[in-house]
Subunit: 352 residues, 4 copies
């Protein structure tokens, strides 16, 4: 058996942290040696996630005071709140420059530190590191990711919107000024912090939009869409909350450019993702359901005709905790470490 | 106490039928004298809906063989499947011409019988009655409804889309060629017939679109929107299923015409519905949740700025079984019978 | 129209507070003149409960500094956290001795202040008031409630267990030493405070017991069961959480005493509740569902044979926010005020 | 790589069939060569389960006309409806006597064919095969299973009740005449057949018991409990439905025999399952949640003190589709084939 890599999960008591641990426990090359959690420091992982009770895992510790040099992690996953992340990674890489970092926060996603400051309300704390950070939407930036030391794992909403749209933008196949992304997410996307608005009884048996017109994730979309289209693109984006745990579905309204039909758009996506293990384009006219990707690293994409001539409806679905966060992070780790890209990510979706 | 009216509910074993009974049981002027259900004929209402167990209600009977003349119903609610409805109402009104009918099916909603045949795949069975049928979106067609004998109660999806859009169309305030209606419904909208796709485990913990590009309800939208706009309007409409029982939320993407801002659109809606008891326009920027109208006859509407300049996001929410079906049917009965419009419909939403 | 009574709801921003307001808004004799909420003081009710947006309601205020004498409430509902309640009611009644109080907390439910101190970990702050407090399980203590100034409204779990068991205990119809109450509750029973364990994703798609062997509510059961049985009774009681908003179902395992059959137990319950408007005993062998009492003040009770000879299974269901809390509180207000007991509580259950 | 075994799944379009396929797709020794489904014969697996869309799988075929001899399956999983199973397996084994069969129906679970006829209302169609059938609760009958040709996989409810109770019965540690099993199951336990009572809106947002006093699964419990206790044991068993997809939780009320304390019972279970990979006994006083075993083959067991002296509450949780059905079936296949018992079953629970 190959020697295992030393892995740390910073922020292990939240949902993306727990999901990293779930996958890493069965990853053939991973040895979890560090789990951090600020408020739960000193507890066992089973105290914050009973489903890990049968497993031997390191005790949760606080980040402050860790000896990064001595730990000499091969890979550090960072599932920390926004803003503190930049400081932690800066220190970690200063002390242990050979550690590879996959960051699941938004802190290194925006190449433009001015845009970062505008959207997040404070200066970027590690502008030098930002220069080397690679945006980690694996299927689009695979080559750069392989050589990266610091990968900025994309957001869940934005992964779900980019995977179907970027090939269409790169092919200049759709009009750029009337793209509407109507996105719907399960509740784990909102994190594990105790907030009244996230209580079961506030969420169950109902549906609503939130952050209408001003959700932060659009900054990431603007950057990547403009890059793909080679001009500025601003899309309409509205997130909604679905009373379910996992899953994001994006219903995307587009108009074909220069006579491109919905069938043409479907063909572009089919070709683009033909060899991808984690993106599956359904037959034309079929549309996906979030439940059919649950627990897997898969993204399903469907294309159908709109009733308005010339327009198409593109629908994508993924599990926000897997392909939308921790699964893609491990996919990126596999690339960075030179392992097979699908290693540890073979789980078939759990339906129902 | 005023004399009560004799009320019949045809198709009482489905969800809209049960909801009619729930409201009628507490309506001061209603006396339920007839309940029909084909497959459950001979059973008590409590056998198909245990929540009615404490109440004295007529036994369920089959329609065939009913003596409409002798029954002499004051009001008949028709919650039957599509297509049979036209035949039943034709016979009912032939035998008992003074009965007022509120039909909850789609059978009399399309004024154009040719359009009907196209969308529903068979000839209209009562074209003469179609001429006198009045489309029952109460707030828009109140005057005609008062004098109608046959009211075609609107669909749930279409009520939810029309209430916010019609005032904007009548005011020529929005562009007509890029209206996108992204609609999400709870499961009771799909009825009570046993289908695999409606089983709990097929629906829970997931989200999906259906009928993408070709949902029948668009015919009704086309008719009413074109009427309001005074030219043909075709909107993009995509329905989705939410794992919840009740509620529809429509997220509507529009572009203001001739410089109308989102605030202008909000002002139009606020003014239009100022005195309406069942349509509530939220302060600008606030958006509604389906759970806040649950069990009530209320529609909530919100308007917010889109991030694309000149565009607005309009969101409406109602309970598909109340304002989207049985509540509006009773609102229409109240008008037809000359009773106060809100009678029996005063329930405050049940949250959570 | 009769003059309306001046009503205050202390603790209006929680679920039982909101439910009181929902019912009171349609109660013909109620005029809501005071709503308190400590952390939300200064806000409008619509800011904490959007479903009240269409209604004119008093602004939320803090309790501290209220002039009880001047307010001269006819009825005060107290939906405050445990412990502070005793102090607030003490002051209120000192300043405004003619106000009737219906307290929804546990603070006045235990007649024995020593037992109170043991279960709640602190001295009783109003032992004199405790003496006049009447335990408010309406169907059992109706006579005393009529003359009470201070009604201690029972808990939701305990109402659900007492209504089926007390008639059996009073009739000495069951063995006292092997009663098992396996109780299951919806999430609103846990309140609206933001706790990690109450987040949607911690609760949805799963089921568990909690407080096994040591739930506080048993003190209330001990008191009332011992009273009914005329000797000490200790039952086994295990609460569970169901991923639903409303409803409690108690599955109760009992053994008939002196040859009483399950049919005998059913007959006792049927006779005991024959004239009660809010307790409905189902035909023998039928068992209730929580969804069929949702939003109503009704309790459904069923009795079936156990497969172990001589034993019966008794199942009761109620809506924890209505008959289990706010509905019963208003039922008690009606008694205290001399109004018809069912006034304002006529809502038929909302199913689905 | 080792040669793969030829596997057939009979009844692949239901939930247990789908779950078998999900696990087998990642089992290192399994090659799925046959999938049957009567009503969906001719369809692709992706047409009945969209989540298998990315995988190459055999087309669904009908059983009638299959050439068992030629197919020469190494293992056949039988996930067919009751009653037809006996006939199908009889023919299969007559034509292909070396095939190993793991049957997930109830058809071979009762050793006593008279008891079978009583509970299932028809004669046993394969009494000779019944003699060789081995009851497949793996942890209890491991030795016999290794040598079996026909394994009768236990039911989901009964697995969940037996795993905690059998060690206590074998140790004569609990009283036999007052065992109460209050069981709660997710909806997939009810299968995928379209029934009104299983529709989302009939099940969501509510809770109820069913089959009170006469559920068929008790026959299996009677057999196994009597075997373990070496005398006849009849337990009280009440199943309930929880609005969730997966999971069973059994709350079991027992009285210690001859002074055994709850701690003693816990110690017995801890010792009994110390080396078992799929049964995890929690620390004393902790109780399990179904969500923490979701998607895994794990059973969690907890023991706590009851408040009635001498009594204990034992709670067990498993995923009805995995340890309660398809996972345990594959665990049994592993034994029968001489492979490592945990092969293909390593998935960590998916929480949330």
């Amino acid at each position: 058996m190959a020697v295992k890599a030393k892995i740390g999960v910073l922020g292990a008591s939240g949902y993306t942290g727990g999901e990293l641990v779930r996958i890493l426990l069965r990853h053939p090359r991973a040895d979890i040696v560090l789990l951090t959690a600020e408020r739960s420091a000193g507890k066992a992982m089973r105290d914050v996630f009973q489903h890990f009770s049968p497993f031997a895992l390191p005790q949760l510790v606080a980040i402050d005071g860790l000896d990064w040099a001595n730990l000499a992690l091969d890979v550090a996953f960072c599932a920390l709140p926004h803003a503190t992340t930049q400081k932690v990674i800066k220190e970690l890489l200063a002390k242990s420059p050979t550690t590879k970092v996959v960051d699941l926060s938004a802190d290194f996603r925006l190449a433009d530190t001015v845009a970062y400051a505008k959207w997040y309300g404070h200066e970027h704390h590690a502008p030098d590191l930002q220069k080397e950070a690679v945006y980690g939407l694996t299927e689009i930036h695979r080559r750069e990711i392989r050589n990266a030391r610091l990968v900025a794992n994309p957001g869940c909403y934005t992964s779900c919107a980019q995977l179907p749209l970027i090939p269409l933008l790169k092919n200049k196949a759709i009009e750029l000024d009337e793209i509407v992304v109507d996105a719907k997410s399960g509740m784990t996307g909102a994190g594990r912090a105790a907030k009244e608005s996230m209580l079961f009884s506030e969420v169950s048996e109902g549906f609503h939009a939130y952050g209408v017109g001003h959700h932060r994730h659009v900054a990431e979309l603007d950057q990547e869409f403009s890059l793909a289209a080679e001009r500025e693109v601003i899309v309409s984006f509205t997130p909604h909350l679905v009373p379910m745990n996992r899953g994001i579905l994006s219903t995307i309204y587009v108009r074909g450019r220069r006579g491109r039909t919905p069938e043409d758009l479907h063909a572009i996506l089919l070709k683009f993702y033909m060899k991808e293990p984690f993106v599956h384009v359904l037959p034309f006219g079929e549309t996906p359901q979030t439940r059919h990707v649950r627990g897997s690293n898969m993204t399903f994409i469907g294309v159908a005709k709109d009733r308005i001539p010339g327009r198409a409806i593109v629908i994508s679905a993924l599990d926000n905790l897997v392909k939308g966060a921790s699964g893609q992070a491990i996919q990126n780790m596999n690339l960075v470490m030179g392992w097979p890209e699908t290693m540890g990510l073979e789980q078939v979706a759990l339906f129902p």
